[in-house]
Amino acid sequence: MAKDILRVEKLERVFRVGSEDVHALRGVSFTITEGEFVSIMGTSGSGKSTLLNILGCLDTPSAGDYIIDGVSIKKLSKNELSTLRNRKIGFVFQNYNLLARTTALENVELPLFYNSDVPAKERRDRAIEALKLVGLESRMEHMPNQLSGGQQQRVAIARALVNDPVILLADEATGNLDTRTSYEIMSLFQDLHEQGKTIAFVTHEPDIATFTTRKIKLRDGQIIEDAPIDTQSAAEALAAINLQKED
């Protein structure tokens, strides 16, 4: 049996807005095992961002437990959470969040600067390796403003991969991209998935979710659907668009 990458148990998160308590998550439980490609869906206000923040160790739950790669985050300090993010999680954001006026290579190297286990001379090699994985080895010295949206997102994915995390967390990673480029990015995620990466993909677009292997749907802070899905191939979808164009 595949090992558990992360497990959430009766997760609750309460925000205090003025004098009112807002329950963003009301007892969410699920497990993601190694090699899964999970999409987390929901409309805005469903609690998916809150869930993602907790999964990404940026936030801590009000109640319940979250165990990532065998570590419970309940009693960890801020610094320990930082280290955990650095070693175990790769973030991909909607708006890429690349450092301006910094080359693609340096952007990818960034997480390794905060990892003292990686010697300086190894940093560059690992960053180059990650960029090759996303097919950008020819654009290593380019600045973000010299890259297209899709290429910038690839750099961001390379950055998420460089620390060899146990899970990739993507937050609306295709939200700023056109359909074609979205499919290209999804195709890349599928490739990474095939190579054994575990991925959690937050999105509100149903067609993007069809490229994953399992769908978790949230509404009002609770899971209303959690089932494996019939996975579509992003590469084929891309080919279909190209055909349409030729017609």
């Binding site: 940026l58 936030d59 610094n79 930082s82 993010r85 450092l99 006026r101 905060y114 950055r159 620390n163």
Partner: protein
């Protein structure tokens, strides 16, 4: 992150905003440069005053008549006529620590030689005056005690008494002082300018008796100069002189002296304490600009932190500890102030150099001021960078990432 990377990151982000960085630095540059320049100029003037005093003869003692009041009206410094021949004799005979004494009477009239005329002070002194004031004879001779006794019309002139043109040898020439002819028997070695800018060579010495009797018709002295047997004994000599003069003038105990005695020791310490105070004052004023520069850094660092909120959020998301973020911004402000400081030190030294040339003073480089301002720079960077850096480090990564 290690220091090397921090410095690299700090430099690259400072380079991204060259104009802003330069202007922020300018505040520190001006602050440090003014501190360095002021301290250096202050110390140079102290030094030049001290060296001038020692060239005057540091064992010199000046005896001046006290201020006099007539009907409640202060007549000004040295206005009394309390010093006379009797005092001179007593000081020459009864003292142990006084090596030499010379009276001084001053007169100011036009000197005339042929077609030339020149105005300078003519001082009536005794032969020992040259020793006391450290003047040397370049050509000819100094007048003797014999000349003093006989009211002889002889004189010794300084290098810049411009009566003789075309390299004419002044020795043996007769110059007129008002209507009275005097024979030049010696020329003084040049002593140069004094620290206050007076030309010490624009001077004529004649026997004091000649000036007293032939020109002024007086029998008191304007002041007296004495030299102690050594610099260390000048205080003893001063005490001795006080004792003798008091008994000579019949001053009872409890009454104040009718003369003032100044040793160089007092003068040196007075002037250096005054110039020291000046230096401190200048440095204090200059350091205000340093504080203003520091506030400039703080301001810019706040702007930078706000501007880069998203970057901070990202760095935190990918594993930066609060401390990493803190050091990153602290490093930036320290580099900013240190580079500003180095430029400021160089600029300050240049200003001090130019000032020393313009004001004809020695060029003093104060290592203390340099080391001090370097430390102050580093501290300024840390102090004024601390709060912005703290603000950055305490950001919540979630809201920082969402910041627009």
């Amino acid at each position: 992150m290690n220091i090397g990377n921090l410095v690299k990151v700090a430099f690259s982000s400072l380079f991204r905003n060259k104009m802003r960085t330069a202007l922020t630095m300018l505040g520190i540059v001006i602050g440090i440069a003014s501190v360095i320049a002021m301290v250096s100029i202050g110390q140079a003037s102290t030094q030049s005053v001290k060296s001038e005093l020692s060239s005057m003869g540091s064992n010199m003692i000046m005896i001046m008549p006290a201020r006099q009041q007539r009907g409640g009206v202060d007549m000004g410094m040295s206005s009394s006529k309390s010093l006379d021949n009797k005092d001179l004799q007593a000081l020459q005979e009864k003292t142990r620590y006084v090596a030499a004494v010379s009276p001084m009477v001053s007169s100011n009239k036009q000197l005339i030689y042929g077609n030339n005329n020149h105005s300078c002070s003519v001082n009536g002194v005794s032969a020992s005056y040259l020793d006391i004031r450290k003047y040397e004879i370049a050509e000819g001779v100094m007048f003797t005690e014999e000349d003093v006794k006989r009211y002889n019309k002889v004189c010794v002139i300084g290098q810049t008494v411009e009566l003789f043109t075309n390299g004419e040898d002044p020795l043996g020439k007769s110059i007129r002082f008002g209507s009275i002819p005097m024979t030049v028997i010696g020329v003084l070695e040049s002593k140069g300018q004094s620290g206050m800018g007076d030309d010490q060579d624009d001077i004529v010495f004649a026997p004091y008796t000649t000036i007293q009797k032939r020109f002024l018709g007086i029998n008191y002295f304007n002041m007296m100069y004495a030299s102690a047997t050594s610099e260390e004994e000048s205080e003893l000599a001063a005490t001795e002189i006080t004792y003798i003069l008091r008994s000579n003038h019949g001053i009872k105990s409890g009454m104040s002296d009718d003369f003032d005695i100044r040793t160089q020791e007092e003068l040196v310490s007075t002037i250096s304490s005054v110039t020291g105070l000046m230096t401190t004052l200048l440095a204090a004023i200059a350091s205000i600009s340093l504080v203003v520069g520091g506030i400039g850094i703080m301001n810019i660092m706040y702007v930078t932190v706000t501007e880069r909120t998203k970057e901070i959020g990202l760095r935190m998301a990918i594993g930066a500890h609060n401390r990493d973020i803190m050091f990153q911004f602290l490093c930036e402000s320290v580099i900013l102030s240190l580079i500003g400081g180095i430029i400021g030190i160089i600029l300050g030294l240049i200003i001090a150099y130019v000032a020393s040339k313009l004001m004809n003073m020695p060029y003093v480089v104060s290592q203390m001021a340099i080391v001090g301002s370097f430390l102050v720079c580093a501290l300024t960077g840390i102090f004024f960078g601390w709060y912005p850096a703290k603000k950055a480090a305490n950001m919540n990564p979630i809201s920082a990432l969402r910041y627009e």
